[in-house]
């Protein structure tokens, strides 16, 4: 029996794991805001660099982070390609592949959107991989986020790996019925995929229902006061990170206001 992963948390004791969970959660918000401020990938790359630094501070290998978040990479790549196709008639032509033109505008605009999609996902992943789930929930409470929302986030983090395990079992059960998910036309494939989507959905309902019974039986009530065994206390490092994030955010907004950080392409200068 392979052991079941129940959390993204990697369990490394690292600089990032010691950072107050509230600061780490604010970092995700910061990444979102920073990546939205700029539309030029060159400026966005600074935010991406902080992700690399965060992963290093968390003692996480980049390969592991990318492999865990590969769905984000696929989505980013798909988005990049789509934008290049959509904007094939705008900007300077860089390449021509079998009659499809690729322009500088399409390429850079697509890249900027792709970075927006992937950066927030990877910020979340890096934080989740360096923070016990309970600390994430405690951090959300500490940020005065609604108790229900905080617990829902915690439960989702707790359930995703369990659903992955269920998914793997269901796929095996259906493969044992001669199901080849990667063969056949679109309709055939769609029908084949219902063979795991339906059981997985029904299992998910059962798992969630059982968990809610277990939680309620253990006196869980989202609307009453509860204690957290983990005490939150801001350290010097936490304050430094908060100040640095604030400074960079303000500076970035200022740069954008004075006209830097928008997409600048030859004569295009759209700044969109």
């Amino acid at each position: 029996m392979s052991s079941i992963r129940t959390s993204y948390y990697e369990g490394n004791v690292s600089t990032l794991s010691r950072v107050d969970p509230r600061v780490k959660l604010l970092y995700i918000v910061w990444v979102f805001m920073m990546i939205m401020v700029f539309t030029d990938p060159a400026f966005q790359s600074f935010t991406m660099l902080t992700l690399v630094l965060a992963a290093a501070a968390g003692g996480l290998s980049l390969w592991k982070v990318m492999s865990t978040g590969k769905i984000g990479i696929y989505m980013g790549l798909a988005s990049w390609v789509l934008w290049m196709i959509v904007l094939r008639n705008q900007g300077t032509v860089l390449l021509n592949i079998f009659g499809w033109t690729i322009t500088d505008y399409g390429m850079l605009k697509g890249l900027a959107i792709a970075l927006r999609i992937t950066s927030v996902l990877f910020a979340f992943l890096i934080v989740a991989m360096a923070t016990p789930t309970r600390d994430v929930i405690t951090g959300l409470y500490g940020l005065r986020i609604s108790a229900v929302f905080s617990m829902v986030v915690g439960i989702i983090l707790r359930l995703i790996p369990q659903f992955q395990s269920e998914h793997s079992t269901i796929m095996e059960a259906q493969r044992s019925r001669a199901t080849e998910f990667d063969k056949g036309g679109i309709l055939t494939r769609f029908r084949k995929h219902t063979a795991y989507i339906i059981p997985l959905s029904l299992r998910a309902l059962k798992i969630v229902s059982d968990l809610s019974i277990a939680m309620e039986s253990r006196a869980y009530d989202p609307y009453t006061k509860r204690t957290f065994v983990r005490e939150l206390k801001m350290q010097r490092l936490d304050r430094i990170i908060l100040v640095a994030m604030a400074v960079f955010l303000v500076a970035s907004i200022a740069l954008r206001i004075i006209g830097l950080g928008g997409l600048q392409l030859g004569t295009l200068g759209t700044g969109q």
């Binding site: 309970r134 253990r218 869980y220 509860r226």
Partner: protein
């Protein structure tokens, strides 16, 4: 001494009737009245759907607060009326442990899981830490406190669920079939923990358990539920004496009780039926000594056919590098009925998944009818080796039984008329000709399991592998499923079942394979294997109760017997 009535009852249920929300015209409980005194140990049994779990939910207030529905009568727990007290407010009085240990895991470490409930009570941090230490110590999980609960064994997970309930310092512990999904070692761990809580800490126990022979040694009273009503409730011996009623309620009698009940029906046993071997031994030894010695009945393993599956030096490791199978050499022959046994993690399921190509060996070779599984697709192998998963809900997805059964043949590209013919035959086989258009997901467990089996069999495999076919099913359901499998075997199908149930292995299998740590430790007929008490125990497999009884009688010259009907025929001198 029966001192009920001399104290304030800890549980006082009066005229309880209940119907779930959305099904208000369908009573699940009907006029239940019962009282439980402090420090009692009450065991509860009954068929699936008899209302056992609903009684548990009524005791901890989930009924009616969380489930809604229609409730009549009253439930008073430790003096608190559950209509007026929420489950959260009742939690410090009543702890509940559910059947599936995994569904109760909230925390991501063992310690977190226990602390979760105490945090909800808003206790101060010191109190939470101290109670958590105590609860983990009581269930002997302190050394695992920083581990992920998901990496514990089944028994440890269930002990963790008990610790999480125990941390509330409840007066009453309600356990809903806590050992149903555990291997024999896990069952023993959990039952001993529960018995200790009752004896040493004075906690009142209300436990559902279908395996009477496991629970009765600890229980003071036995409650049998049937169709939402109390069928029997009394001291355990008195209830057990109503053997016919218990069997009719879908509950399996302990083997020793069953043997004596059968003798009583033949006029060969008088007085109360025993609940343990010790209670029956002297009288049965006396009876054996009065009989002329005869050869014991033995189930002969049929002449082996040609090998259908050959495993040569098969080793397997998961990506984390942990070796699961080590140098396995095994032939499964045509006509075999194999019971694959061993504790959780012994490698049984991994071994079985090599038989239809779901897993490929890290080294060595698996041949299915001469084909190397490394070279063949799973869909091709599915026509040779069918694999039925433990939970039918992992398999079933169609709107109708007919569509469900057709799915495999469609994948195999069969023509429509052949599919239609095969579906009709499969429906007839499982006795569901009139349910062709019924929705399988809303059927009972027995029907869903049968549909899952039929949906594999329809692809006409030569070997059928079933992972825990009877687990979670009550006695009648298990009997129905096993009779069907046995019939298939009689018709020539080679069958492999993965099971923890020694009684099932003794009664149906012609060959038992016991595994430990990825190695086959024992391989032989049930008669041979169930004589190897020590070696079996090293694989964490207990002897069937009849085999234990036979060992006792063996001192009186009897040979080894492992099945109830054989024991009865020997004792009646047939």
């Amino acid at each position: 001494m029966d001192n009920r009535g001399s104290m304030e009852p800890i549980v006082d249920i009066q005229g309880l009737s209940y119907a779930y929300r959305g099904f208000e015209d369908r009573w699940v409980l009907r006029d239940i009245s019962l009282q439980i005194q402090p420090h009692e140990f009450v065991a509860v049994a009954g068929r699936t759907g008899s209302g056992k779990s609903t009684v548990c939910y009524a005791i901890n207030g989930l009924v009616p607060h969380s489930f809604g529905g229609k409730m009549e009568g009253s439930v008073t727990i430790c003096g608190l009326n559950t209509r007026e007290t929420t489950p959260a407010a009742l939690a410090p009085k009543v702890g509940i442990v559910l059947q599936s240990a995994e569904s109760q895991l909230v925390g991501l470490t063992v310690r977190e899981d226990v602390e979760f409930g105490l945090e909800n009570l808003a206790l101060d941090r010191e109190e939470i830490r101290s109670r958590t230490d105590w609860a983990l110590d009581v269930v002997k999980l302190t050394e695992f406190q920083d581990s992920s609960p998901w990496n514990l064994s089944g028994g440890q997970k269930q002990r963790l669920a008990i610790a999480s309930a125990l941390a509330f310092r409840p007066e009453l512990l309600v356990l809903d079939n806590p050992t149903a999904e555990l291997d024999p070692v896990g069952k023993q761990e959990v039952l001993e923990t529960i018995a200790m809580l009752n004896k040493q800490h004075g906690i009142t126990i209300f436990i559902i358990d279908q395996e009477l022979h496991e629970i009765l040694p600890y229980a003071n009273r036995l409650l049998i539920l049937d169709k939402g009503q109390i069928l029997l409730m009394d001291e355990t011996e008195a209830v057990l004496d109503q053997a016919e009623l218990i069997r009719n309620a879908g509950v399996k009698l302990p083997d020793v009780t069953e043997v004596c009940y059968q003798l009583r029906k033949r006029g060969l046993w008088t007085g109360t039926l025993p609940r343990t071997i010790e209670q029956a031994r002297d009288r049965l030894v006396e009876r054996v000594n009065s009989l002329e010695p005869k050869a014991s009945p033995t189930k002969i393993r049929p002449q082996a056919g040609e090998p259908l599956i050959e495993m040569k030096d098969v080793s397997f490791s998961y990506p984390n590098g942990k070796p699961v199978l080590k140098q396995i050499n095994l032939d499964i022959d045509r006509g075999d009925f194999v019971a694959l046994m061993g504790q959780n993690g012994a490698g049984k399921t991994t071994l079985a998944k090599h038989m239809n190509g779901l897993l490929k060996p890290s080294s060595g070779q698996v041949l299915v009818e001469g084909m190397d599984t490394k070279q063949e697709s799973i869909s091709h192998l599915a026509t040779r080796v069918g694999y039925v998963f433990q939970n039918p809900d992992h398999q079933i997805f169609s709107k109708t039984v007919e569509e469900e059964l057709s799915f495999g043949p469609i994948n195999l590209g069969w023509p429509a008329d052949r599919i239609s013919e095969a579906v009709t035959k499969a429906l007839k086989d499982i006795g569901m000709e009139d349910r062709r258009k019924a929705e399988p997901y809303f059927m009972g467990l027995a029907e869903r399991k049968l549909i899952a089996i039929a949906s594999i069999l329809i692809m006409e495999p030569h070997v059928l592998v079933l992972d825990e076919p009877a687990t979670g099913a009550d006695y009648n359901v298990a009997l129905r499923i096993m009779r069907y499998i046995s019939e298939l075997h009689q018709r020539g199908l080679t069958v492999i079942i993965i099971t923890h149930d020694v009684s099932l292995a003794a009664n149906y299998a012609s060959r038992v394979i016991a595994m430990r740590d990825g190695i086959i430790q024992l391989d032989g007929t049930p008669e041979e294997i169930f004589m190897e008490r020590e070696r079996l125990w090293s694989c964490k497999i207990a002897l069937p109760e009849v085999a234990e009884l036979s060992s006792c009688l063996g001192q009186s010259g009897q040979k080894h017997i492992i099945r109830v009907p054989d024991m009865v025929s020997v004792l009646e001198g047939a």
